[in-house]
Symmetry: C2
Subunit: 225 residues, 2 copies
Amino acid sequence: MDFQVSFNLNEKVFLRDPESSEVGKKLVKSAIDLIYELGFEHFTFKKLAAEVNTTEATVYRYFENKHRLLLYILNWYWNYMEFLLEFRLQNVTDTRVKLQTIIELLTQELPESSGKMDYNKRYLNQIIISESSKVYLVKEVKEINKSEVFKPYKDLCGKIAEVVSEYNPAYQFPRSLSSTLIETSHYQQFFCNYLPRLTDSKGGDQKTFTAGFLSDLLFKTLDHS
Amino acid sequence: MDFQVSFNLNEKVFLRDPESSEVGKKLVKSAIDLIYELGFEHFTFKKLAAEVNTTEATVYRYFENKHRLLLYILNWYWNYMEFLLEFRLQNVTDTRVKLQTIIELLTQELPESSGKMDYNKRYLNQIIISESSKVYLVKEVKEINKSEVFKPYKDLCGKIAEVVSEYNPAYQFPRSLSSTLIETSHYQQFFCNYLPRLTDSKGGDQKTFTAGFLSDLLFKTLDHS
DNA sequence: TCTTTTATTATAGTAATACTATCAATAAAA
DNA sequence: TTTTATTGATAGTATTACTATAATAAAAGA
């Protein structure tokens, strides 16, 4: 089975839809490679243009600046995650299994084959872990938020919160718990890799460790309310 | 009672100790004001120099770059937090009370009067919330970590983890839980302020809300192992 | 006291970044 | 065939992140 997924990304994140042209697609794909390789701070439109054999002016016609481009990538990711969640939770009735699936989804890498999506998933995953908070931890967050570009994140969070409430309707903080699960899955993996003394990882796989920690946290919190 | 606290900050974070001169002290104090006001991305050494009525070259003699300056501020904060923790936990025997004190410390603002410390504490608090993760979420983290500049953070985390283990020796993830408490206290407050749909805050005080959420999470996790 | 050394600014300059503006080439629509 | 719109190439500017060197002041030695 092979299928294509595409999302209606908020038009506020781009000036011209990168999906509408070959250069646009290459731009996003190469951006993922470069941001992974250089880190967001050292990533520039000039370097991206060189990689795609075009000019800076072209890149600026698609995205207002590199922050918006990162936002585009994250919007794509959040949408994809919500899709995967919906898909994987289909016909699952046991709410406990639902929660376990969610934790798996948050900690394991994106599935390799998913139609036309030819982004490097390992890189994308690492970007999500290391760079995603940079789109909202900025002075302009209030202004940016008005254009609804964080809606996919809020929706993903909301969907997880629904399952949490389904599992334990009495629990008071379903949304905060969901955003905590998402964020914690990122930086615990980051810490395992780079600052392991901030974790209890014993040098094994950071994804397995993080899944174990989150699962323990989640069920202990929800099983005793 | 009035007392002075000072820490031996790792010499790797500065080129010349800012505490050793008047300009140095003004530099750090004004940096806190400016980073709060502009956000770390828009904060530059040129603007800082103008604020202190000196030149860029002078600033560069104290700190290698603005990243190191932020690291200096955070090192100061982490050290101060560990000191406060030690201080406030003095003679407390009930480990439950100890944990509650820790959550208070992580969510409430820094105490106003603490000797010579004349940094703007409201600003410093906001910087901790919005900017602190930017010191480690960078490509160079491995290299930076070698100079031990994250030790104060690790020590703080370790100290909290000790109390966690004291409260429940069987719990498997004391360090990860501690770093999660610290990080979650930051971004839940941030979310309450700017992206409230990622939380369950009902518009009340974000600090009280975050404390409530964290306390619920912590004790449910530790009371049932 | 005067001179020499050293330290510390101030001035100036460079390479890179983050954009903008202009203009020509090309392609699609009328 | 002309008009219109879309591209991409070229060039240019303001700001950022530094570096290098000259000027000045403070400290130390003769």
